[in-house]
Amino acid sequence: MDKLKCECGHVNPEGTVLCEACGKPIEGNQHIDGNDKKMLLNMRYEGSARRSQTYRKSFVDKVWSFFSSVKVGVILIVIALIASMIGTIFPQAQFIPPNAVSRDPAIYYEDQFGLIGKIYYTLGFHEMYSSWWYLLLLGLVGVSLVICSLDRFIPLYKALKIQKPKRHETFLNRQRFYSETENVTESDLERMKENLKKLRYNITEQDGHILAEKGRFSRWGPYVNHIGLIIILLAAILRTTPIMFTDEYVWVREGETIVLPGTDGEYYIENKRFIMEMHDPEDERFRDAIAQEGMVPSNFQTDVVIYKAEREVPGAEPELEPILEDSIQMNKPAKFDGYTLYQQGYQQNEFSSMTFKIHETDDEDATAIDSFTVDLFDPEPEYILDSGFRVVIEHYFPDYYLTEDGTPASETNYPRNPAFVLLVYPPESDTPEVSFLGIGRNIDATGENEYKVAIQDFETHFVSGLTLRVDRTLIFFGLGAAVFMIGVIQGMYWQHRRVWIHPKENGILLAAHTNKNWFGLSKDIEKAIEDTNINMVEDRQDLDKS
C-alpha cells in the first residue's frame, strides 16, 4: 500500500502523520514526529509526508534523503564553520606580511609559529578558502539547503491547501489550545464568527465545522529566506567567472602608460602624477599619531588618464583614445565601462634619472669638469659630452645586487638600486677608465683612474598601486540579501494562526494552533468569545512536560 486512506475519505500519501484533510493522526506513522509518546500533536509541517522519510529505494532516493535531512545540513554547516575558524588562526598565504623574513609559505609558517605552523601549512590550511574541499563543503551546504527546502515546502504547501474545516475529534483534542463547551447557542457561534472576521481571520465552513485562519503566508517565510540564500550562493559561483568578477592589481609609474591587465589589452592607463599629502604637523587631532609616526598622510591620489586602445593584433602599436581623465583617491575610485579603479598602494623607492659629474680623481673639491643625465628607464648606450669626454654604459643594473658567486646582477626590472659599469674615455683617448658606480658605491677597478665619476643629483618618482575591479555580481548579492530579508520579515512579523470549531450535539469543541506567539493567539480567542458563553481555551503545554 502506498496510500493511506483516512476514515474521512481522504487518501494521503505514504508517510503522512496527520491526515491532510481532517488532521486525524494516522496510526502507524506517529513515531515519525514523535507523537506516540506525547499527548499533544507535533504540528511541524502539518504532519505531512516528507517524501525523504519514506522512499529510500533507488540510489537517487538515497542521495535525496541524505541531503534532505536537516541533521545532515546542520552537521555540514558546523563542519564549514569549524573549518572557517581554523582558516583564521594564522594568516592565509596571500596575507603573509611583506616584511616577513621569508614570504615562502613553506618556510614562513614553521619559522613564525613553530610545529603548529608547520602542521597548519602541511595540511593546506594556509590557502584553505580556495581549497577544493572547502569549496565542496560550501557546495554541499548549498545542495542540502535546496533539497531540504524542496522536500518540506512541497508537502507543506499541499497539506495547507488540502486542509478541510472538518477535522477529526482527535486532532482537536490533541492541540495545545483546547476547550469543550457543553451548550452553545447559534447566536453565540455567530457572534464568535463575526468577531473572528473582525480580527481578519478567513472563515471556511463545512457541515457546521468552522476553520478560522490568518497569516498562512508567514509559513512561506523560511522558504523565501532559503531562496535568498540560494541566490547568494549562485552569485558566489558567478563571481568565479572572469566576466562577472575580475580583480587585478597594477603598479603604474609616474609618467608611464601601460596596459591595464585583465582587459585583453583594451584599456591603457597613464599615471600623470601621484600625490601624497600630509596632515599639518601642528594639527591637534593628530598630535599623538604624529609624535609616534612622524607624519600622518591625509591624501593619496593618482591623476590618471584612461585610454581605449584600438589595435589590429595584441602587441601592435595601439591607437589610444583618451576616455577618462580622473583623480583617484582613497574611497574615490575612477569608473569607466563597468571597471572600477581603486587607489591601493604606493612605492617611493625608485629612481627615475641620475645626473653624474666627472671630476679629477685627486681634486679634493671634486669640481665638475662635465656632467650628464641618465634616464634610468631608457639609458643611452653612450654619452658624448661637450668637453670631449665619452662615457659608455658597459653594464646597467637597475636593481643591483651581488649574486652568490659574486657577479653583479639586477634583482628586478625597476631602478630601485641602480648601478653602472661605466667606461670613461677622456678627450682624445681610446683607452677607457673603468668605474663601478651605484648608490653608496664608487669603485675604481684599477685604482689608477685619472677621472672619477660621481652621482651629482637624482630624481625619484612614485609608483602608484591600483586595483582594477569588475564586479557584476553585486546586484545578485543585493537581490539575494533582499529576498533573504523579506523571508525573515515574512516569517517573523506574521504568525499563522488557526482556530477550529467542531460542533458536538449541543456544544462545541474549540482548538487553536499557531506557529509562534501563542499569547497573541489567546488574546485573539479571548476577543472572539467575548459576550458568549463559549469556554476559553486552556493552554495545555505543560501536559507533555510532566
Partner: protein, 190 residues
C-alpha cells in the same frame, strides 16, 4: 482491474519521482562542479595545453636578427617555442645558452625560437644579447601586454606551440638541455 490501475499509477508516480529527483540532483551537481572547477582555475593558466595560441605582434629588438617585427601567425606550419624572459631573471640565464645551442639545428627543421623580453629598458636587453650571443628573434614587451595576454606568472615561462598553432606544452621554470630538446622534437613539423 482496479488493482492494475493502482499499480500503473504507482509505477508512473515512481518514475516521475525518479525523474524529478534525478533532474534536480543533476542540476545541483553541475552547479557544484562548475563552481569548484572555475574557482580552482588559477588566473595564471588561462591558456593551457590544447588551446590555440593567441596571436600577437611585437617589435623585434635584437641586432643579431633581421626581423623588425614578430607576428606569431606568420609562423603557422612551423613549431614555435615562445619563451618569456627578462635580464633580471636568474633561471633565464641558465636556459638561454641551451636555447641558443639548439636554435640553428631546429631552425633548419622548421622550429622557431621566439624569446619575448619583459624588460623595461632596451639597453640591458642589448647587453644581455651580446653577452650570450643570441641570434633568435627577441621581441620586446615593455608594456606587459603580451605577458598579460598569456597570463605569464613566474619567469621563465615557455609555451611550445605546434605547427597547427595549438599550445602543446606549457613549462614554468628553467629547462635543461635534454628537456628542451625533447620538447622541441614534439613540435617539429613532419
Amino acid at each position: 482491474m482496479k488493482i492494475d490501475r493502482a499499480k500503473q499509477r504507482k509505477s508512473r508516480k515512481k518514475r516521475n519521482r525518479l525523474i524529478y529527483r534525478s533532474g534536480i540532483l543533476a542540476v545541483l551537481a553541475a552547479a557544484l562542479i562548475f563552481g569548484i572547477v572555475s574557482s580552482l582555475q588559477n588566473d595564471n593558466t588561462v591558456y593551457r595545453e590544447g588551446d590555440d595560441a593567441p596571436d600577437f605582434q611585437l617589435e623585434q629588438i635584437s641586432q643579431n636578427n633581421d626581423l623588425e617585427t614578430v607576428r606569431l601567425n606568420e609562423y603557422e606550419g612551423n613549431g614555435i617555442m615562445l619563451n618569456f624572459w627578462a635580464t633580471w631573471c636568474d633561471p633565464c640565464k641558465y636556459e638561454m645558452p641551451f636555447m641558443q645551442e639548439l636554435y640553428p639545428e631546429y631552425k633548419e627543421k622548421g622550429v622557431e625560437i621566439i624569446a619575448v623580453s619583459l624588460d623595461k629598458t632596451d639597453l640591458v636587453v642589448h647587453q644581455f644579447i651580446d653577452q650570450y650571443e643570441l641570434t633568435f628573434p627577441i621581441p620586446h614587451d615593455p608594456k606587459g601586454e603580451i605577458s598579460d595576454l598569456y597570463k605569464v606568472g613566474p619567469l621563465p615561462s615557455t609555451f611550445f606551440i605546434n605547427p597547427d598553432g595549438e599550445i602543446e606544452r606549457v613549462v614554468e621554470g628553467a629547462l635543461t638541455l635534454e628537456l628542451l630538446e625533447g620538447f622541441l622534437d614534439e613540435i617539429t613539423p613532419n
